[in-house]
Amino acid sequence: MTDFLRNLIRLRRGPWEMVATILIALGVVMLMQPFALALFTWSFLVTLVGTVMFIIVSHFPE
């Protein structure tokens, strides 16, 4: 966990890609869940942030 946070602060690709991946997956789940319309409403924003973040952080050093 400490390594993860340290690499996050040092702008390393691995942990940032993980964060972006979690955001994308969360967005997709929010888009398709049957429980709350509010989650569906915000799903696109979450997926968009995750996707844009993924594109940016994939250029970070290893």
Binding site: A20, T21, L31, M32, S43, F44, T47, F54
Partner: protein
């Protein structure tokens, strides 16, 4: 006999020859790549940017002379607060979830069986892979016949096994079977694909790992959970992501089978999008809808590429 290269060189007009000779390797490389880049921009990138632009307007393609109004985020807000579209997303999710679960279980089980050496292994593999090679249009049409209440083989088999009269229910009609019918067809068609990927994963496991486990007296069950599953998991993830992306966009087969019906029972997001764009002609609105689906697929594709790279590193 004259050298053909000399003849070609002589036939080249001197100005062109001089011009090409003056170009650097890099410039020549760009010259070769330029048509592809141009086509990519014209066919993929330009329409995408145009769709993004349209998604902020109230443009209707069937009324080209009407004034186009800039509506900002209104289309996105309307889509993302629409109960109907939310229901379509859930229908898509139901289809996605069950096709993935069934395809992973059956695909892995088939790969496990095919991985063993037995007589007729090659023939069986070819037969299993056949459905994947068919066109979705063909599959949609012949499963429509199989699901026919009067003459269909499926209803006949159900009658034979359970005694329920064949014409008392319709797999593609009202009664709640339609969502499951499309899941069955997709599973039938695409399980072989998951099987092939799992098979690649199983064959990539070196024998010496199992031999070492045998020496350590690990049971077959233990070997399965501590060697086979972890080693095949990246491949399985790849298959899940690939099928997930494909099924999220599923259109042709379901249109042929149910057309989104009965009611809205099998109305997947992609079918609804087509209706909005080319039946109701709400081009601006449907562009926003398409962008929402595109960002979702693009996000999933990013994860897919990452998973692919991980598998390649192994």
């Amino acid at each position: 006999m004259p050298n053909p290269l000399d003849a070609a060189a002589r036939a080249t007009p001197p100005t062109v020859a001089r011009r090409i000779r003056g170009l650097s390797d890099r410039a020549i490389a760009w010259l070769f790549v330029a048509p592809t880049i141009f086509l990519l921009l014209a066919i993929n990138i330009f329409p995408l940017i145009w769709t993004v632009r349209l998604s902020f307007t109230n443009y209707r393609a069937n009324r080209p002379n009407e004034e186009v109004e800039w509506v900002g985020l209104r289309n996105y807000i309307r889509i993302l607060t629409d109960d109907g579209i939310w229901a379509n997303m859930q229908t898509t999710a139901h289809f996605l979830f069950w096709t993935l679960v069934l395809q992973v279980i059956l695909g892995f089980a088939l790969a496990w069986l095919i991985n063993r050496k037995f007589k007729g292994n090659d023939l069986l593999t070819t037969l299993i892979v056949l459905p994947m090679m068919l066109s979705p249009a063909v599959v949609g049409n012949f499963w429509t016949f199989l699901y026919q209440p009067q003459i269909g083989l499926v209803n006949y088999t159900v009658e034979l096994l359970t005694g329920t009269p064949a014409n008392s229910f319709s797999m593609l009609g009202p009664g709640g079977y339609a969502p499951w019918s499309i899941i069955i067809v997709d599973t039938w068609m695409w399980t072989p694909f998951v099987m092939l990927i799992c098979l690649a994963g199983l064959r990539s496991i070196p024998d010496y790992i199992y031999e070492a486990a045998e020496v350590d007296r690990a049971s077959k069950w233990r070997q399965f959970w501590t060697i086979t599953v972890p080693m095949v998991l990246p491949f399985l993830m790849l298959a899940v992501l690939f099928r997930g992306i494909e099924n999220f966009k599923m259109f042709d087969m379901v249109v042929l089978l149910t057309g989104g019906g009965p009611g809205n029972e099998t109305l997947l997001a992609s079918i609804d999008l087509k209706r909005e764009a080319f039946e109701k002609w709400r081009t601006g609105y449907s562009s926003a809808y398409a962008i929402i689906l595109f960002v979702t697929v693009f996000g999933l594709a990013s994860i897919y590429v990452k998973a692919l790279n991980k598998v390649k590193e192994r």
